[in-house]
Symmetry: C2
Subunit: 212 residues, 2 copies
């Protein structure tokens, strides 16, 4: 009868608690915004006393910063899809798939990210001016090359990227609206698939994407 939750090692304790806190924080920040979120609520959701939160994260800002940085990592990882691709059909399809998967699996994270940007990116400004800018410039180059190689119509790469971000992110950020218009039910597997297919089809057709 060795209680499986009992013998916790220091490392495990730290990892698990931080994880629980970050998860709870992500949800609360997503639902209430930074200003509306309370440490008490996050603590309750994480199943820990409030003072324990401050043991791991000194301030609300620090906790928020951690949450936002986590999201940003995930967000950037979806980028890799773009790189391996030979042409717009592969690359953009994969990117849309990846970002839609994020919208579906991490809606809270997406909302926190959206909220952060909407409020002027007080925490992530540095990242936006360095990492994000570099990433974007890189993809702009790739798209430009595709255009030069006749693999797609000459569409402004930046506006195309914005379009990809917007359409995919919308399913997370405005998920509540979509649910309401869907009879109050969240999208089914089939509907998610249809959403992805529609987006891909419209955009790939719209930019005149040619097989590599």
């Amino acid at each position: 009868m060795t209680e499986s939750t009992r013998p916790m090692r220091r490392q495990d304790i730290r990892r698990e608690n931080e994880k629980a806190i970050l998860l709870a924080a992500e949800k609360v920040f997503a639902e209430a915004g930074f200003g509306g979120a309370t440490m008490q609520l996050i603590a309750d959701l994480a199943g820990l006393p409030k003072a324990n939160l401050h043991y791991y994260f000194a301030t609300k800002e620090e906790l928020y910063r951690s949450v936002v940085q986590n999201i940003f990592e995930i967000w950037l990882q979806a980028a890799n899809c773009f790189d391996a691709a030979r042409g717009p059909i592969d690359g953009i399809s994969a990117y849309i798939d990846a970002k839609m998967e994020i919208s579906r699996r991490h809606p809270d994270g997406s909302k926190v990210w959206a909220s952060e940007v909407m409020h002027g990116a007080p925490v992530l400004q540095d990242y936006m001016e360095s990492t994000l800018r570099e990433w974007t410039d890189g993809r702009v180059e790739i798209i430009r090359r595709w255009i030069d190689e006749g693999k797609m119509d000459p569409v402004d790469p930046r506006h195309l990227l914005y379009m990809l971000w917007a359409t995919t992110q919308h399913y997370a950020d405005f998920g509540h609206q979509i649910e309401t218009l869907n009879g109050g039910k969240s999208l089914s597997d089939r509907q998610w698939r249809e959403a992805k297919e529609n987006i891909k089809r419209v955009i790939l057709t719209g930019i005149g994407a040619q097989p590599a």
Copy 2:
């Protein structure tokens, strides 16, 4: 030397103050979210003592509700573009133009609306289940007709609408990100025009829109 601001009639006073408060509130709610906004900040921005705000709007919630409802009106008005149109090219072009103009002229309003929906539409749930649903169903019908008449490819009307909402709203909600990637400068007239043209072109091409 009749000071032009002096002789205020009751009606004018009320109208002007409410207007100033709503404008200030829109900005503060957009920048800080509902939870992060404070009545004091709104009062300062409106140039009135805090207690005066409570004279016109009993509670923070009531003020917020007014702001959100205003936005919703504007949002719905852009809908009319759709109705008069003979086909997808006219209708969708006009709608994109209208919504982009809203994103440009009322970015704060757009953000408040986005925030409201992201947080589960606590204030606007009723509207979403009635007005918005009706509006959406109506447009879905129109798009379906266009498809039946061979004026465009058989694209899922709902996902098309989401795409229109997402792409246009993105320029307001994520305006800060776009500015940052634009070298820290807000988009020029020319860039706004390009944005609109790109969106229109990609989407209209993407759905195979045929001249009416």
